[in-house]
Symmetry: C2
Subunit: 490 residues, 2 copies
């Protein structure tokens, strides 16, 4: 490992780019805007997927798979949807290449032009609702609770690994309901699932709230979001859940015969989280020495490093290490013994710190003579001896403690960096000098939001409905029902 990481405190953006690549999470690919997710980064995403998938199934959803391609005309069916996605999509126009008749290489075969162009899905509401039309006839077919794990493409020029790429991986839930109330309930249930996942697994505290009208999903009636405050002072929209009303049902003519024997359009929701959660995890907890992974999402929860100066010592410490590895695996703990003989312990310590492994256990002859092992926590950097008989018990306890500690630290950070601004000057100063979440009154108009964004780059992240103190807009002075959350965002 070339240990030349830019300190996070000095330049968090630069630190982020370096750590994502040096820790083996991801890299830019030869295809503009697309990333390669490397094995260590993908292992984090797999753990996220497994947990989320279980949560979706516990709440009654089943997985299915819909086509990658969407006929161009489908986009046009829902008026807002088209304006949201038509300007940034990959368009397939032909289905064959041929040898260049005028020279080297391959060219598009003009005879293979498609009658109707296809676009690569930027999201799947249109193709899914076109399908649901045949699946739903009566209230007996409802609710329909489906999720899809998929890749999607939104053409992006300014990309950032995990946070913003042209292709990304995500899940998208698409549900159909008899009544408005049921659909709203589902929208809220899923934003709660996301918030629970973010807090309990990612150790990232989030605010649940409604997006203002001008920031909502193209085609939604209401968009709920979970917003996280990352440790560079910027907000991240970490997941969204949309109440779609009857918009897509009307666009794709999906009606059902109700209990009252009357026909009506179906009510809908959609909701999604993506690989950007991996970016959030990195930025939230990482420090100057690298990643700091919460135990529940760490591909390696415990790394065991044998220490020795000769072959006799090696045989002894390796045996203890392998036995401890077996015990931990049996207990369902993800563990790795790093017994690579070509690397020095100091190099290994730094490498596994860079990779954010929550707990390091060094197994050395002197400690063994004293019936102990040396444990080191990645989060607090504490090192301490653990009696060998307590090794398994302490490992379990420590993994829990680290998980909790990361959440507490993140929650404290957010609390310290959430401030009220009571006028526009104060707002600007806080934003420039402190960043973070700024709670301020806003008159509810897109014009005021646009003015603030133009002048300060801050956007309204969401409206936390638990806020109820009335006041006056910091820009227009018009009445406001509650403070909303402003921040600079990803």
């Amino acid at each position: 490992m070339a240990k030349e990481l830019t300190p996070k405190s000095k330049n968090s953006a630069e630190w982020y780019n370096e750590i994502v690549q040096k820790a083996g999470l991801a890299e830019h690919s030869a295809v503009r805007g697309c990333m390669v997710i490397k094995p260590y980064g993908f292992a984090i995403w797999e753990l996220m997927q497994q947990r989320l998938d279980a949560m979706f199934k516990e709440t009654g959803h089943a997985n299915a798979y819909f086509p990658l391609f969407i006929p161009k005309s489908f986009l046009n069916r829902e008026a807002q949807h088209v304006s949201g996605f038509a300007k940034e999509c990959a368009v397939i126009t032909h289905h064959r290449l041929m040898n260049n008749p005028d020279g080297d290489g391959l060219v598009v075969d003009p005879d293979s032009k498609l009658e109707e162009e296809l676009i690569v899905r930027p999201t799947s509401e249109t193709i899914i609702w076109d399908t649901y039309r045949n699946w739903i006839q009566s209230y007996r077919d409802l609710p329909l609770l489906i999720n899809q794990w998929a890749n999607v493409v939104r053409w992006e020029l300014r990309t950032r690994l995990f946070f913003r790429t042209a292709e990304f991986l995500w899940q998208e839930g698409h549900t159909a309901h008899e009544t408005r109330e049921e659909a709203v309930e589902e929208t809220l249930r899923m934003i709660d699932v996301y918030a629970g996942f973010a807090e309990e697994f990612m150790a990232v505290p989030v605010v649940k709230g409604v997006k203002p009208e001008h920031e909502k999903f193209a085609g939604a009636v209401d968009t709920w979001a979970i917003e996280a405050l990352l440790t560079d002072g910027k907000a991240l929209q970490a997941g969204t859940s949309h109440f779609l009303g009857q918009n897509f049902a009307k666009a794709f003519d999906v009606k059902f015969l109700g209990r009252d024997n009357k026909e009506d359009y179906v009510w809908a929701t959609s909701w999604g989280v993506s690989t950007r959660l991996v970016g959030a995890l990195v930025m939230m907890h990482g420090d100057d020495d690298g990643l700091v992974l919460p135990p529940r999402l760490a591909p390696v929860q415990v790394v065991i490093i044998p220490l020795y100066r000769n072959e006799t010592e090696m045989a002894r410490v390796n045996e203890v290490s392998r036995n401890f590895e077996k015990e931990l695996k049996l207990a369902g703990i993800r563990v790795k013994v790093d017994d690579d003989d070509t690397k020095r312990p100091g190099w290994k310590f730094a490498e596994w710190e860079l990779k954010g492994v929550p707990l390091r256990v060094a197994v050395g002859p002197r400690d063994l003579d004293n019936n102990q092992l040396e444990f080191a926590r990645r989060d607090t950097r504490e090192k301490f001896a653990v009696p060998i008989d307590l090794r398994l018990e302490r490992t379990k306890e420590l993994l829990d403690e680290i998980q909790k500690n990361l959440f507490s630290k993140a929650a404290a950070y957010r609390q310290e960096n959430s401030r009220n601004a009571d006028n526009y000057d104060e707002f600007k100063i806080l934003l420039e000098e402190k960043g973070g979440f700024i709670y301020a009154h806003w008159d509810g108009t897109a014009e005021t939001a646009a003015k603030i964004q133009d002048e300060t780059k801050a956007t309204i992240r969401c409206m936390d409905l638990s806020q109820s103190e009335e006041g006056k807009c910091i820009v227009s002075g018009k009445p406001s029902k509650r403070r909303v959350i402003f921040a600079k965002a990803y």
Copy 2:
């Protein structure tokens, strides 16, 4: 359920199309060539994925993710590869749509033309080997053992659900090695993994063999395949593992510094199986009444159906049903209680038979009076009483027995339908009258294989290297080292 399934014995192709849709496995989508995988079908694929993924990890592989798009020029780097895939690919030429200036709807924005066209991956050797160039410098970086779960697109006009669609889901392993021997070993290891999965989980016996030169993967030195004989008498290539030699390393300039301090090109393999395995499962075991799923891949292994004529009986049988459900879940068995009050038991029996659930348990008051439950096997159609105390034990035993029985039946079918042909006339008669695998001598030339295919539609499925009887080609009379397997194929 509208119970009007075409008998399999009468028209297996028609039966297949009907059962795939009626059992809720998949359907055609609005996008030509693409299918929608419905929840029940996707649940089978998920079980396949889980098991295969575990097998890949047990053999040392890690998952990663590479871009969906491939620059057009990449295809051209490997001469055989390009000829294999350029003629059937989705080509992205633009990245924006706009409102039609001359009328309604959306048109491609001509200003958004890409400098270089992108194709949707038909397979990922090119983009992956372009990436590996930066990952591999020395023998210490090898072996590199990576797998990807992904969607791929090969433009197809004649499609068949699961067996042949333009977009399909698959996994593709891509490994890099120091030596030819290691790469060949990996190629064989993975074809063994596939054969083990097919036989032990799908209950589908397969032949492992080498593809003839003219049938191998575009860019491979050798292609190994597992070939199954489905019960319509046709062969299915169920998985392939390719030894790629140094072809892609040379095309993408991937060299490493060896233990001997010399530079050399890296040796490669790739291997994959796809959602066509779901099609194989359906065609292999299904019967006139619907699917017959092997227990290890059945989304529902046991269905419990309460029988009652009044509310008192209902309360009693439902309680027993729910308790048995809990017991089975605790034992890790996938179970469903169908207590839908709007459907009659006969309808439910037929529905779950159609869906291929291996074991049905009916819970009725009379049986309970006799301390028993009525079990019914899907594979043999046997019905029998099981003492209530033995319910869990017998369930486990029966699921194992059904799994084994399905494999035995399939193996017996293959044996009955594998025949030797010693001259071309006999070959043609056997093929027309019996179908199945025909073992015959072939002179090893593409010309002879093409003549046979033109005249009979049979192709060489693979060369089973355990066959060692020499002879003379049934067409040319030239010498042949061993019989090869001919069949009509998917």
